[in-house]
Structures are given as C-alpha cells and as structure tokens.
C-alpha cells in the first residue's frame, strides 16, 4: 500500500483553510480599489496567496510518499501542562509557586528524571529566578503573592 505524504497534505490543507478565512474576513475591512486600497485589500491578497501555496503543497504531497511524523505525545502534553500552570499561577500565587508548577509538570516529559531530581530543580530554579529577576533586576513580579 502506498503511503502518501500526509505531512504536506495536512500542512497544505491548513494553509488553504487559513487562507480562506483571511480572504473572506478581509472583505469586512473594506477592500477599496487597486489604486486606492482599503484596510482589507492587502489581507485579501495574502489570503489568496496562502490558498494557492497551500493547494500546491497539498497537491505535491498527494503524489509522493513519506513517512508519518512521530508525535512526541508525553513531552508535548507535559510541557504544555507546565506552561499552563505558570499561566494560571503567576498572577494569583506569585513567581515561585508558578515556577514549581512549571518545572514539576514539565519534568514529567523526561524518561530519566527522578522525583528527587525534580524537587531539587524546582527549588534551585525558583530561588535563583527570584533572586535574579525580582531582587537583582527589580521586575515587578511577586515571589509569593501577598508575602514578598
């Protein structure tokens, strides 16, 4: 069985979809004329170019074969979870708890790390970051919200 180049088919398809969206919404900004352009003229052209390029990429991908990409599921989920923890915690709880969440969750991605290594990393990175950014450089981020 022939395996098509699904990377390019999917990628090209996404570009066509994005291009269509930009092309259609561009009309809402007012196109104007070719010699007196409105705010939508340039987005309209970009959308059109994206559609053409996406279609070309997908068409080439359809006619060739390639291996399917390997998604690194655990690193992807762990890193995103860690970043989301920082996103949620930094304003509410402060920089240090946010770093604990980020480092603790992102570390799950690695196959070799031990829970002790993670704990040491959480402590050292959070303290070093607080010393560098808040104490030394004076960024207005609380270490622990309401405390320091």
């Amino acid at each position: 069985m022939m395996k098509r180049n699904y990377k390019d088919i999917a990628g090209g398809g996404l570009f066509v979809a994005l291009g269509l969206y930009v092309f259609i919404t561009a009309f809402g900004f007012g196109i104007g004329t070719t010699s007196r352009m409105g705010a939508g003229y340039y987005p309209m052209v970009l959308g059109l170019v994206a559609i053409i390029l996406g279609a070309a990429i997908a068409a080439i991908g359809w006619r060739e074969t390639a291996e399917r990409p390997q998604v690194a599921v655990k690193p992807l989920l762990a890193v995103v979870a860690g970043l989301l923890a920082f996103y949620v915690l930094v304003d509410r709880a402060g920089m240090i708890p946010a770093i604990w969440g980020l480092v603790g969750l992102a570390s799950i991605a690695d196959d070799d790390i031990t829970w002790r290594g993670t704990l040491v990393l959480m402590l050292t990175v959070s303290i070093a970051a607080w010393l560098l950014f808040s104490a030394l450089l004076g960024l207005p981020i609380a270490g622990v919200e309401g405390l320091f």
Partner: protein, 499 residues
C-alpha cells in the same frame, strides 16, 4: 575614523565592556549546548535588555549571536551533534578528527578560523555600511517597498526544506503581522476585541513559542549527551605546522563566501557554511579526504559562518531590512528602544553604530580568549543533562515573556505558538522565514500603500523609479528561478519514480 573617535570610546565604557563580555560568554554557552539555538537565546535575553541603554542592548544581543557561532563547533566536533544549525557541516570532518584523537587541534582550528572570518566580516561592515546608508538615504516608500519585497521573497529560500513550504511560512508570518490597527485607516484587523492585540504583539513572543518551546518539546528524550567526551588539555590543542599550512587558503575562501552571503536577504550563516564546505571539496586535489577528518572541511565553514554572522548586520543597520531571523529580532529590539533602523541610523546615532562595530572587535577578542585557554570549561558544560536544562529554559521563556508587559496574556500566546510551532515542525515547515515575514510584512504594506498615495494610484509611475524597478526585477528573477528549480526537481523525482 569614527571607529576610533566614537566607536572605541563608547565600547570601552565599563558597562558596555561588561555586557559585551556577558553576551559573548552566554553566546558561547548556548552555542556549545545542542538544543538551544542562538536565536532562542537572543529572544530570551531581549526582554532583559529593555532596561539597558540601546547601544548596550545591541552590543549584548549581538555578542550573543556571533558568540553562538564560536561555541557551536564544540559539540559538532566532540559529539557529532551541532550546537547550532550553522555548525552542522562542521560535524562532517570535525567528528572524524575527534575520533582520531585530534579533537584538540580541531577545536583550535575552528576557533582560529572563526576569528579570521569574523574579522574579515567586521572589516566589510565598516567599509560597506556607511556608503550603503548614504545611497539608501535617497530611498522613498517605493524603494523601501521593493527592497523589502525582495527580502520577503529571498526569505523563502532559507533552509533546507522545500521552497514552497518556506514561502508559505513567509506568508503565514505576514498574516500574523496583520493583527492590530491598520496604520493607514485605523481599522482594527484580527484583534477580536482583545485589547492586548490592538498594537499587534512583539516578535519575541512569536520567536519564543515557535523556536523556544517547539525546540524544547522536540528535543526532550532525544538529546542524551554522551558522558565520555574526555578532557582537553592546553597542550593537546596545538595543531601541527602541516595543519596550519593547509587551512590558510580555506579560511580565506570561507571568509569571502561568508562575507558575500551574510548581507544577502534570506541566506545567512547556515547556508554560508554549507557553501564554504562545498567549495573546499570541489577545489581540493583529493576530495576523498573530506568526511574523514580533513582540516579544510572544518576551517572553511567556520570562517564562513562567522563572517556571515558579522556581515548580516549590514542590511539590518543600514536599511532596516533583516536578512536572517535573528536579525529580525534584533530589529524588534531597536524598535522597542524607539530607534528606527535605516539609513539615518549612522548619522543620528553614530555612537550606537560605531560602538557596536567596535564591540565586534572587542567581543571577538574575548571569544578568542574564551575558546582557546578556557575550552576545558565548555567541554565540561556538555556534561549538563538536558533533563535539567529544558525546565530551566521554559522558566526563562515564561518570565521573559511575562516581563514584557506584565501581562499573563503574552504567556498564553507563547503556549499557543509553541503548540503551533511544534505541529509545523512535525510537518517539516521551517520557522525562520516566518519571523522575517512577520517583521517585514507590515512594513511592506505600509510602504506600498504610501507609495501608491504619492503616485495617486499609478502603478507604472512606480516602475519609472530606477532603483524600484531594479529591486522588482531581481525579485522577479528570484521567483522565476525558484519556480524553475521546483519544477525541475519535481520532474526529476517523477522520472526517478518511474524507472
């Protein structure tokens, strides 16, 4: 000479010396480590540079950029893993040299070649930038539009991937650049009523997500450092007299190749190093030695990528047009400091221009010192496991982005771009052209529409301007060339699959 009257006095202030050293030191550090590119490092430190004087900021970020070119060869030679993309070609002969027990001379030669390349590149910046800026002073909107269009099309030729996909990434960058208020009409485009998007978003956010976060996700569990890289002593560094005789010409050729490709939009250090290697292989009397530890094969590419790193500052500082993705970030840094890079820069901020050039000399001397007597330190850095490194990188990304505006919204954008960037990486779309599209896209639109207002919508009047017509002609030739090579390789592949 402005270099001596303005440049060195500026660069020799304590603050500038300190930040120059910090830049090249950290540059070597991230260069040595595979899995963090110089671009990510520049993006990471850019928010921290906001509270610095603009000259100091560019001195530090610049040092980071060219310092990474030095450090990158260390991992190529010792581990067969390029520290940065532009050192990938150094693996071909550097790693075999290390396997033959000649890691020391290989490290010495790459440092010497890097310094020679950087020196040649810096001389070229000094000679070319002022006259180019004077020439560009006559540029109007039409000329800028056409020069930037050329930059955009050339950006599509970046990288090893398929051209159509690189061009698509440029367009994606331009589409992301639409977000915010349209400067000509005041219309809000793609802001979705979110106040944080009214002015668009800074390029650092895009770079940190697309490069930083995506790079980390792709490297976890893949980068396992070999623990036995051994130690390098000073004595083992010295190359033989035969080595030195062999590298003289390759270094000169490499420096010339790098100086040529550095300022061209869309090329930069990586392509320069590959071309430098290819040329050496072709002119060599015995090409079969290449890939088995030929000293020419590490000397030429290292001279080329360092020369290109320095000369890539030429279009950025004189025209305000970045040739490489890192330069796009550098341009963003200047804009945030309220400095409009362009032909007026040398005249209006001579201390910045000449101070930065002087810092190139000082920084490269620092690098010579950092990379020869202190090479043992960097070799030991390769022992740091990636599992301790990447959570730290993520923390730096988050705090750096948060500190831009103290808005958690920006961190959210980084998460979004990180996921999108990883998906694009899986589908083999290269992110570098995207950054160039993002910074040049809005400038192209603004200048084009302003030029049309000036000619009252007359397109032919644009072509009557000789410089504009010249840029547009080159752009057209480049586009046709790209189309032709895509069509030809497509036909060749078709013929190959038939037989």
């Amino acid at each position: 000479m402005d270099l001596f009257t303005i440049g060195f006095p500026t660069a020799f202030s304590w603050v500038n010396l300190l930040y120059c050293f910090l830049g090249v030191f950290l540059g070597t550090f991230v260069g040595v480590l595979p899995g963090i590119s110089g671009l990510t490092a520049v993006a990471l430190l850019m928010p921290l540079s906001f509270h610095l004087d603009p000259t100091t900021a560019i001195i530090m970020l610049g040092g980071l950029y060219y310092g990474a070119e030095y450090g990158g060869s260390t991992a190529s030679i010792l581990l067969n893993l390029p520290g940065t993309a532009s050192n990938a070609v150094t693996c071909l002969d550097g790693y075999p040299m290390a396997r033959q027990g000649r890691a020391g001379p290989a490290l010495f030669i790459t440092t010497i070649a890097s310094f020679a390349g950087a020196a040649a590149g810096t001389v070229l910046v000094m000679l070319l930038a002022p006259p180019l800026a004077r020439f560009a002073l006559a540029f109007g909107s039409a000329e800028y539009f056409s020069a930037m269009l050329l930059g955009l099309v050339a950006a599509g030729t970046i990288g090893q991937g398929r051209r159509v996909k690189s061009v698509a990434m440029v367009v994606l960058g331009m589409i992301l650049g639409l977000i915010g208020i349209d400067t000509n009409t005041g219309e809000f485009r793609y802001t979705y009523g979110i106040a944080n998007l009214y002015d668009g978003f800074p390029i650092v956010i895009l770079a940190m997500g697309m490069f930083g976060v995506a790079e980390v996700i792709a490297s976890i569990n893949r980068l396992k450092y070999v623990t036995e890289v051994g130690s390098i002593t000073m004595r083992s560094l010295l190359p033989t007299r035969e080595d030195m005789r062999r590298i003289a010409k390759p270094v000169a050729r490499g420096a010339a190749v790098g100086s040529f490709f550095g300022p061209l939009p869309g090329t930069g250090p990586t392509i320069a190093s590959f071309i430098g290697y290819a040329i050496e292989k072709r002119v060599s009397r015995d090409p079969s030695r290449f890939g088995k530890g030929a000293v020419e094969g590490i000397a030429a590419p290292e001279a080329a990528n360092n020369a290109a790193a320095q000369t890539s500052f030429i279009p950025t500082l004189t025209l305000g047009i970045p040739g490489a993705a890192t330069m796009a970030i550098m341009l963003g840094a200047l804009l945030i400091h309220g400095i409009q890079p362009g032909p007026q820069l040398i005249g209006e901020h001579p201390d910045l221009f000449w101070g930065v050039i002087a810092s190139f000399w000082i920084g490269n001397l620092f690098l010579l010192f950092l990379n020869i007597p202190m090479i043992g330190v960097w070799v030991r850095i390769l022992h740091i496991p990636y599992r301790y490194l990447y959570p730290t990188i993520l923390v730096l990304i988050c705090i750096g982005v948060y500190s831009l505006n103290n808005q958690v919204f920006d961190v959210g954008l980084v998460i979004l771009f990180g996921v999108v960037g990883y998906a694009l990486k899986l589908m083999r779309f290269e992110p570098a052209p995207l950054l160039i599209g993002f910074i040049l896209g809005p400038m192209v639109e603004e200048n084009f529409r302003r030029a049309l207002v000036l000619t009252r919508g007359d397109y032919l009047a644009l072509l009557e301007r000789p410089i504009t017509a010249g840029f547009l002609a080159v752009t057209l030739i480049l586009l046709l060339g790209m189309g032709w090579s895509t069509w030809r390789s497509h036909k060749r592949r078709k013929a190959a699959s038939r037989s």
